[in-house]
């Protein structure tokens, strides 16, 4: 049996192990939830489909009207993940993600308004709130009487969340909160803020740790700045939120004093399927737009849909969208299935889906040609809206480092054991032998592919055999590479961002590939080879894509231009300019 509290597909992958039961069978929702979801989706469409013109106007105006937000509230979109007992829908991650997908098909700003509330704004309360805290706020959050916002980012604390300067100091039993938060989604329309502040931790030499607090907009000293003028998602509300001597009673501490950093990460990880769903929705709507456009638009006497280069773009969009939906669904399935250590997998879904949406938006605009650049058409808005996804909720660069460094955790731990055992092998030969032989077994399994358990998938549909074999082969190479990179750099790996990024890209490719295989296998089993033929084609194309990219990245571990590129960058930093003009 797999230990759901610690199992991680990607970490095991780095050890050369495939934890098949985490991914196969492809997760599906419970029948009751599925039925309710269908109704919700139908209603969401009825609510949003007639609003296309409004969404465009609100984008230009940079704001959505209050009446519409009221409509969203009474429609019930703020209660998606809140348990039924508190007046919400009680949706799990999969159903929640699917609703966000549907909203995002219509408008990114609306998806973000709803998503920022549920994915991060109130999720801390749901995850770490005491029963009293839940009873106090969840019912009002479910009806939208309170909209929630997540307040972590500050001018000096972006990717480096630990650098937060907002403070909360003890005053008797109370806390007094001071600080400014930046770029807060829903900042100006929220009544419920999850705020992260530095607090001194008793008995830890005065060293400050992060703590999360619940702050409500009716408290004295809470205010917000003007609505920011943004590139995209313009109708979604973004402001600074300011806290000046805000007095909080002890029951406003969320999830324990000093546990804020860890909890902030947990909130972000757990909320990622909302953003992922949003990206999938964006892609689906772009594919509809671009395919219609390509069939209508005639050049050289024929519709441009007949041209190979247009087909290539559309085909890639389809593969990207399928892969994104697969990985988002698997991550949601892991969360709903009770797995606890899904941080790397969730990060992969975020990086992959946001970048797939970006590629899709860019290419859809390209298919639309000059029309795509005109405001009259939706493409330019989707491009602007899509750009934020690679930046917020953890930039994709930071997440790549996280994916690689966390991915190789188990490998690092094993190597540490091995090196310590090497030193102490004479002192404790029996234990020493165990550690060394485990390592030797793993190495042999990786090198030969002949021994060891869990080397690959065994339960996939037989039509996927060639892809499953490729996957297995690649797992061995990845595991070998992880071992090699760590032995080469040791602890120094943390400073080697070029190498780390490469490893991250490999892990992203591999995990998404695994998710695609699982989904296509389920489709083959359910519908038969004839009905699922297209999906099998997607698996083939994706397998080839992964093979190409993984091979390239593996090769570049040893042979690359990293040092040259770095020195060019350092030179540019020195000049703060480009150094050559052609004459």
């Amino acid at each position: 049996m797999i230990d759901k509290s610690s199992a991680s597909f990607v970490q095991s992958l780095c050890m050369g192990q495939v934890l098949e039961e985490m991914l196969v069978p492809f997760p599906t929702m419970k029948k009751g939830e599925q039925e309710m979801l269908e109704q919700v989706l139908a209603s969401v469409n009825q609510l949003l489909a007639p609003r296309q013109k409004d969404f465009r106007e609100w984008d230009l105006a940079g704001e959505m009207p209050k009446e519409f937000i009221e409509e969203l509230k009474s429609f019930g979109l703020f209660g998606l993940i809140i348990p039924e007992e508190f007046g919400g829908m009680g949706f799990g991650s999969a159903a929640y993600s699917r609703v966000l997908q549907e909203i995002a098909r219509h408008d990114g700003s609306v998806a973000l308004t709803v998503g920022a509330h549920s994915s991060i704004g109130m999720r801390g309360l749901l995850l770490f709130g005491t029963p009293e805290q839940k009873k106090r706020w969840l019912p009002r959050l479910a009806t939208g009487e309170m909209i929630a916002a997540f307040c972590l980012t500050e001018p000096g604390a972006g990717s480096d969340a630990a650098a937060v300067r907002t403070t909360a100091v003890r005053d008797g039993n109370d806390w007094v909160l001071n600080g400014d938060k930046l770029w807060i989604t829903n900042g100006g329309i929220a009544q419920f803020y999850t705020v992260f502040a530095k607090t001194p931790v008793p008995g830890d030499g005065g060293k400050a740790q992060l703590t999360a607090f619940v702050v409500t907009s009716d408290m004295k000293g809470v205010s917000h700045g003007p609505h920011e003028d943004k590139m995209g998602i313009r109708a979604s509300n973004t402001t600074t939120v300011l806290f000046e001597d805000v007095r909080l009673t002890a029951d406003h501490v969320l999830g324990g004093v000093g546990k804020g950093f860890k909890n902030a990460m947990k909130i972000l990880n757990s909320g990622r399927t909302g953003l992922g769903g949003g990206c999938v929705g964006g892609m689906k709507s772009l594919i509809s737009l671009a395919t219609k456009q390509a069939k209508e638009r005639k050049q050289f006497g024929q519709p441009i849909s007949s041209f190979g280069l247009v087909k290539q773009k559309i085909g890639d969009m389809v593969v990207d969208c399928y892969a994104s939906e697969s990985v988002v669904t698997v991550v949601a399935g892991l969360i709903d299935g009770g797995y606890e250590d899904y941080a790397v997998e969730a990060a992969i879904s975020k990086v992959f889906a946001t970048e797939a949406l970006w590629r899709t938006a860019d290419e859809a605009l390209q298919v639309a040609g000059g029309n795509g650049y005109m405001r009259e058409y939706p493409y330019e808005r989707v491009v602007r809206d899509a750009r934020i996804n690679r930046l917020f909720e953890g930039t994709n660069d930071i997440l790549r480092l996280f994916i690689a460094l966390t991915g190789i955790n188990q490998v690092a731990a094993q190597l540490k054991d091995v090196s310590q055992t090497m030193k102490g092998v004479l002192a404790d030969p029996i234990k020493g032998f165990g550690v060394l032989s485990d390592y030797a077994k793993k190495t042999a399994a990786i090198r030969t592919g002949l021994v060891g358990d869990n080397r690959g998938f065994t339960k996939l549909h037989k039509a996927l055999e060639p892809q499953a074999e490729e996957f297995e082969e690649e797992v061995r190479e990845v595991a070998w590479a992880a071992d090699r990179i760590l032995r080469k750099h040791g602890k120094g790996i943390i400073g080697k961002q070029f190498a780390t990024r490469r490893l991250a890209d490999i892990l992203i490719d591999m995990f998404v590939f695994a998710c695609v295989l699982s989904r296509v296998s389920a489709a083959l089993q359910e519908k038969g080879e004839e009905q699922a033929a297209r999906e099998l084609e997607i698996a083939r194309v994706f397998a080839r894509r992964v093979r190409h990219s993984v091979r390239g990245n593996l090769r570049r571990i040893d042979v690359n231009d990293d040092e040259l590129v770095k020195s060019l960058a350092d030179d540019a930093f020195e000049r703060e300019a480009f150094g050559w003009d052609a004459r």
Partner: protein, 267 residues
């Protein structure tokens, strides 16, 4: 004067899905087709809810079909109907049988008013309401509409288009006829079928969907109702309309004449 209203809903193919006929002509390809409540029935449900909001009473929603038809009943419950009845049936039916089954249900439920869409958008037969009234020997009013437009204030305020008399015994129905509308008065109980311009149906809110989960849906096997379930009208074959042949450009009138005369043979 509270009203008990029975309103029917049918599960039909979503007109926005791409409908393809099976190569052997025995039906349509169902893979990839979405289903929804017949749009005319949505208008019926909306009208029933408005009548209930104005006069009080109960809205019972009924459908005939397989397990999946419960989805449409739930949709109506999520809009606000009180309870549902599913007459469980697999296989083909015609309007004679549908009306016979609804007759049995009407006799059980004893509503003051039966509301039906004037037709379902899949078969477009427009017969069930009329035959049902005949079977029940009740008054009927078809194609219910209203004088006010769908942008009017009455519509904004969600006023019902069907007007109940002060004594609660009669109902005034505005119906669409060629070139205008006429107003009928029917004595209750009655069967009314609704047309497109009667109202703009509401859609279910999420809290409505949650509430609907707890509402009762009774299932009745059609075989238990004592109706001979043998359709008299049978679909023999389905086929797509022939593809339109491309047009041609002609240089002048004599050429046009020649083509019309010799090729098309219409002049």
């Amino acid at each position: 004067m509270p009203l008990k209203i029975l309103v029917t809903v049918k599960r039909v193919e979503d007109p926005e899905s791409k409908i393809k006929v099976k190569p052997d002509g025995t039906g349509i390809v169902t893979d990839g087709v979405n289903y929804k409540m017949n749009p005319f029935d949505e208008i019926g449900v909306e009208e029933a809810l408005r009548l209930k909001e104005k006069h009080g009473g109960e809205v019972v929603v009924a459908s005939i079909g397989g397990d999946k038809s419960i989805t449409e009943i739930r949709s109506a419950l999520a809009m606000g109907a009180d309870r549902g009845v599913l007459l469980k049936h697999e296989g083909a039916l015609d309007p004679l049988l549908v009306s016979a089954l609804f007759q049995k249900l009407t006799e059980q439920e004893k509503p003051d008013l039966v509301l039906l869409g004037k037709q379902s958008i899949d078969d477009d037969q427009n017969q069930t309401g009329q035959i049902l009234a005949e079977r029940l020997a009740w008054a009927q009013a078809t194609f219910a509409s209203k004088k006010e437009s769908l942008e009017s204030e009455a519509e904004q305020k969600k006023q019902p288009g069907l007007v109940l008399s002060a004594d609660g015994k009669k109902m005034q129905v505005v119906r669409e006829v060629d070139g205008g509308v006429e107003t009928l008065e029917v004595s209750l109980p009655a069967v009314v079928t609704v047309d497109l311009r009667l109202n703009k149906p509401r859609f279910a809110s999420l809290p409505g969907i949650m509430k609907a989960k707890k509402k009762e849906v009774k299932e009745i096997a059609t075989a238990s109702l004592g109706v001979e379930l043998q359709p008299k009208v049978v679909v023999k074959k389905l086929f797509e309309p022939p593809k339109r042949a491309g047009g041609a450009k002609v240089a002048d009138v004599p050429e046009l004449w020649k083509k019309l005369h010799e090729e098309a043979k219409v002049v």
